[in-house]
Subunit: 264 residues, 2 copies
Amino acid sequence: MKLADHRAQTRAEFHERLKRIGAERYHDRHPFHKRLHGGQCSPDEVRAWVVNRWHYQSRIPMKDAAFLSRLEDPQLRRIWRHRIEDHDGGVDAGGGIRRWLALARAVGLDPDYVASGAGVMPATRFAVDAYVRFVRDMPLLDAVAASLTEMFAPKIHAERIEGLLKHYDFADDASLAYFRNRLTEAPKDVEFGLTYVLDHADTLEKQDAAAAALVFKTDVLWAQLDALWHGYVEGRLPPGAWRPGEGLLDSAIPEPARDAAAVP
Amino acid sequence: MKLADHRAQTRAEFHERLKRIGAERYHDRHPFHKRLHGGQCSPDEVRAWVVNRWHYQSRIPMKDAAFLSRLEDPQLRRIWRHRIEDHDGGVDAGGGIRRWLALARAVGLDPDYVASGAGVMPATRFAVDAYVRFVRDMPLLDAVAASLTEMFAPKIHAERIEGLLKHYDFADDASLAYFRNRLTEAPKDVEFGLTYVLDHADTLEKQDAAAAALVFKTDVLWAQLDALWHGYVEGRLPPGAWRPGEGLLDSAIPEPARDAAAVP
């Protein structure tokens, strides 16, 4: 018989602890999001966000596949696999990441430019790639716990849809389809992930590790917005980062500039 | 401009080279398969094959997920993902690996015992796990090339279906469903994988690496049968390996033994 760890938090206490991490550290509290949702972002700040956040979107299915590759239980694999399906979608239909490219087009960016990953800031890459490696290397419990930022996502997606629709011309049902879909996709992911974490974190040591994993993930999200703010709000762009005017659709280039560009 | 590698084999020559590797080294040539398909295997030899081959089956989706986790191209991920779907199937339906457990039941093994992986020979694990690591770590071209043993699989599956139906009572449409499904699944995988390898192996160095990867994979398959032969045909079982009588369904235990086992 396995002895219970009497130092462990109760299920309810531990659940509260996880929620508190979101309340204190989730990136809905970041000033860049307040600026974005409040309508204060310039068109180029919005574009910079779309360019950089693409890197996160595009790595999510790779992260989930890395997790899948470590699951010895076929039933767990079957349950987890739909996350990849949500993001990648089918060969013809595409999925969440293709919906992200629809947003890119709506803000005047060439979807091929965005999908190429050119112009993503190094700080964005470092944060996102750290997350993929975390899920590839750490205990399964920690990997699932890191995904639990999804608990806090429906709120930010709802705020974002409302804020973008109110303040920006590009926002409509088509361009915001990514966020609307996540409103229904995220809760089913959370339900499974949260139950898994509450079930498996049965010692104080594992609860601490799972909480640390969730903190780590909030850091991954926050760091991306810090980099955006530093680069595009304060205007201190690192080498290689997207610069306003790059990767635009023809229709988004102001007429005089387009004419000038046409001169051989 | 990229210079062509004049030392490289032509596409047709390289394709022939890959096919020759199969003709010389694929495990349809192994004496265990001749014994199995020819009806000379004892019921326990068949069971030993089912127990051990489970480990290979169960790792294939993990191998494919590891590959998926390295693909930065969403379209390539979408195309590759169906391999996981073929093997794992849906939450309710299951897929290839559940069909393997139907075969286990048909030969009198408890599917839960087989699925637990208990009794798999260490040599089987080492070979299979080497393949998963290869796909996780090696260049993508080599990883795809290693999958090309599928080129040779329809022939062995057809021989197997015919041989098992002819020689063994357990063989019927239900118990052999795994192999029948592979007859249609494998060719579409091969078509994509072969084109990928022929397209990407555009230097002699890459052709050599891809050919070596395919040789490696034939080694992975052959080593599993060598271990089976040594253990179960020659009767030299390593510690921890499945022993005849273990993991059987009640219905497969001979009456007297079942009565004896029922005595407290």
